[in-house]
Amino acid sequence: MNQWQNFLKGFIKENPIFVLVLGMCPTLGTTTSAMNGLGMGLATAFVLVMSNVVISLIKGLIPDKVRIPSFIVVIASFVTVVDLLMAGYAPELHEELGLYIPLIVVNCIVLGRAEAFASKNGVWSSFVDGLGMGLGFTFALLILGSVREMLGSGSIFGLKFIHGDGMLVFVLAPGAFIALGYIIAIVNKIRKA
């Protein structure tokens, strides 16, 4: 597999959300608007890239038996970095995403890529894999966030395009489940076709 394919697989073929259905909690919890979805996606992508690179660098040093706890420590360190950076430079977004930032630690995608890819491949491929998966995740969050914002408040990235209110239910919890359910169904349809 060349690097370009390695990069592209995260978008549709192995998209972490639409196809692998991993990392559902931040997906549903933070996509109340396109902006929040984008912010969460980029934060996760950063952690994914950095932890993939570091883990593939130190994979020779970690004894096999303690590899999972070691991966978790690496991931948790980068999550703390993101948490502090966001609190410093984007306090509003940090406030909005709240609990979901520290919870990137337990996002199955990050640990999943560390275990399935970075612990077996070189630094460069791991970097590309992390970037592709991270951006694929961001892409999925952006789509879900845009759909919910358009239906729920009639705006996109905060720009109103209808008068009055949208269907509030799509901004609230139930809308997240329903919108994601239908998006996955559509993606299934496209992939089979």
Binding site: L103, A173, P174, G181, Y182
Partner: protein, 190 residues
């Protein structure tokens, strides 16, 4: 009285799955059969309570005096992972029947974000130790309630002719959405 409010709000009003979106992975993965979801609930209530008490004590008696609060994410996740291992070993020795019942679900719990979520939430909400314990147990029960409800709905869905693209995860998500809509009716109780 305040404990009662905590319990009702953790189980119904701000249900951990249906309104906070924590612990969705086991929610979708384990909710195909009622029996497995009951097993999972038992394991989650157990680990969540012990983990919350441990992390609470660690935070207020070790991290805060040493001014290491920013390390809480790393410390909490390691404590939870170690705790799950320890609970597994102790249960295996002391209560084989309980171990038999919970065994396969225990390792899955480390990656359940609800456990880490509750540990972080009680710090955020400034709960006392007793309140935190009650909150953890009630949240676990709320998790179980949502899990068992969805499992019983999905068992019925097996018998229905679902459109091809909607089979599996999509229909489960839409069902969960309707369930969440029903739970919104509880808002305003407390």
């Amino acid at each position: 009285m305040e404990y009662f409010v905590i319990i009702i709000s953790a189980i119904f009003v701000s249900n951990i799955i249906l309104s906070q979106f924590l612990g969705i992975c086991p929610f979708l993965g384990v909710s195909t059969r009622i029996s497995t979801s009951v097993g999972m609930t038992g394991a989650v209530v157990f680990v969540m309570t012990i983990a919350t008490i441990t992390t609470y004590l660690l935070y207020y008696y070790v991290l805060e005096p040493l001014d290491l609060v920013f390390l809480k994410t790393i410390v909490f996740i390691l404590v939870i992972a170690a705790l799950v291992q320890m609970v597994e070993i102790i249960l295996k020795k002391s209560s084989p029947s309980l171990y038999q019942a919970l065994g396969i679900y225990l390792p899955l719990i480390t990656t359940n974000c609800a456990v880490l979520g509750v540990a972080l939430l009680v710090i955020q909400k400034n709960f006392q130790l007793m309140e935190s314990t009650v909150f953890a147990i009630a949240t676990g029960i709320g998790f179980g309630l949502a899990l068992v409800l969805l499992a019983s709905l999905r068992e019925q869905l097996d018998l229905v002719n679902v459109p091809k693209g909607m089979k599996g995860i999509p229909i489960a998500l839409v069902t969960a959405g309707i369930l969440s809509l029903a739970f919104m009716g509880f808002s305003g109780i407390v």
